[in-house]
Amino acid sequence: MNARYMVSLVTVIVLFLIAWAGTALGLQVLFGIIIPYAALLLFIVGFIYRVMNWSRSAVPFRIPTTGGQHKSLPWFTHAQFDCPATKWQVVVRMALEILTFRSLFRNTRMKLKEGGRLSYQLEIFLWVGALAFHYAFLAVLIRHLRFFTEPVPFFVQLIENIDSFFRVEIIYPVFKFGIPGVFVSGIVLLLAVAYLFLRRIFTPQVRYISLASDYFPLFLIFGIALTGILMRYITKIDVTSAKALTMGLVTFRPTIPEGVGTIFYIHLFFVSVLLAYFPFSKLMHLGGIFLSPTRNLTTDTRTKRHVNPWNYPVPVHTYEEYEDEFRDKMIEVGLPVEKMPEPEPVKEDAPAKDETPAEEEEKE
């Protein structure tokens, strides 16, 4: 038992009950029109606000994390994408990071083996889970455009065709599954979310650093995926009415059609909560990944001088000026000076000759 995930789980259950009770009370207009609009507005405005806030942060110095050889003398092989020196190399690095999550791939696990030998193992399951989760979510998002566009654009139908490649039909009078065709992405999304949750529960180190704000989105997305899958394969809803509702939203002619089940409103409410929660949460990594200074800066500190942009002129008194001011007094009390005053008419230069080498020795 852990308060952090219990709080999140209870929150999601409460959200489920709110949507369920609201629909039962006949608040379809609230849950089908007002909340989705408000959530979308909050999502867009909040997202822009957060990113604009970040854009005001100062980035005076180069702080990229390097993962390879810095550009150096020509006979050293430069790791172009792990230690990018030019803008284009940064673009490639960022693209690889955003599309393939390279920094997760580099995850290693330290282990003490028998005899006190330390070993590092490649630990790719987080990377695999994250890739599965994000790409499945993207496919699900694109597929859902079929409810928000009329006519449905070709790329949505293309994704649908690829996604429903595997046809699994289990048809018995008591249990039916797989009609309409199974979309792999929904199942993968559900499994990936479950894995990412179990990882937080069962790996002690990860559990230790997991907060309620880490569990909540996982539970919420699990709820979204589960209600979606239930609606498609098990407790069917009238898809045409559902699309009439969503099309009403996006064409600013909101309607509440008949025959849209409670589960649809629960699904819609979960999605609205996710959208509204987005700008306040760690989910902002969607925008934040683009603005990570540890990834998107060039490592050109050896070739370019980066001056702190808010340096202001400071009145300085250099040692040379100090010595010019006090040279006579320094010589008087026998302090070493860097520049001897021009020797005036040479008379007794014997002590001066003795002094000079002694000074140099002292300096060294």
């Binding site: 867009i44 854009s55 009238d238």
Partner: protein, 129 residues
């Protein structure tokens, strides 16, 4: 300063992508297509199951029929109301609903569903006429 411009450009791209459904439809109304029944269907009044059931679950019923006819050779469907029907897409369903283009296709297109019924059932004589 150029960084700020890049960030704003990125945000504009983000807003354009997120609001895709809002500008793609250009606010054109797209209500659910109306169900158009043939005279024969109107006269029959009831389908093999209730309208609500058929709206949501006809695809599963059709698949059950297919399996039952093709695998078990049973052609008689007994509805919950006790009435018996011949399990056949071409001869039973499309007998009343002979207006496939209006009755089937409009909703399937609206929901972007491409059922494979018509991969085989293309010989429907009522369809060609």
């Amino acid at each position: 300063m150029s960084e700020k411009k890049l960030i704003i450009l990125g945000l504009i791209i983000f807003v354009v992508i997120v609001t895709f459904p809002l500008w793609y439809n250009r606010g054109k109304a797209a209500p659910a297509p109306e169900r158009i029944l043939t005279d024969k269907a109107k006269a029959a009044k009831v389908c093999v199951r209730s309208t609500d059931y058929m709206k949501a679950e006809h695809m599963q019923l059709l698949d059950l029929w297919r399996d039952s006819v093709v695998r078990q050779g049973t052609r008689i469907y007994v509805s919950p109301s006790g009435k018996e029907y011949n399990m056949s897409l071409s001869n039973r369903c499309l007998d009343c609903h002979s207006n496939k283009a209006e009755f089937c296709d409009r909703c399937h297109n609206y929901a972007s569903v491409r059922p494979y019924c018509w991969d085989c059932h293309i010989d429907n004589p009522k369809e060609t006429s």
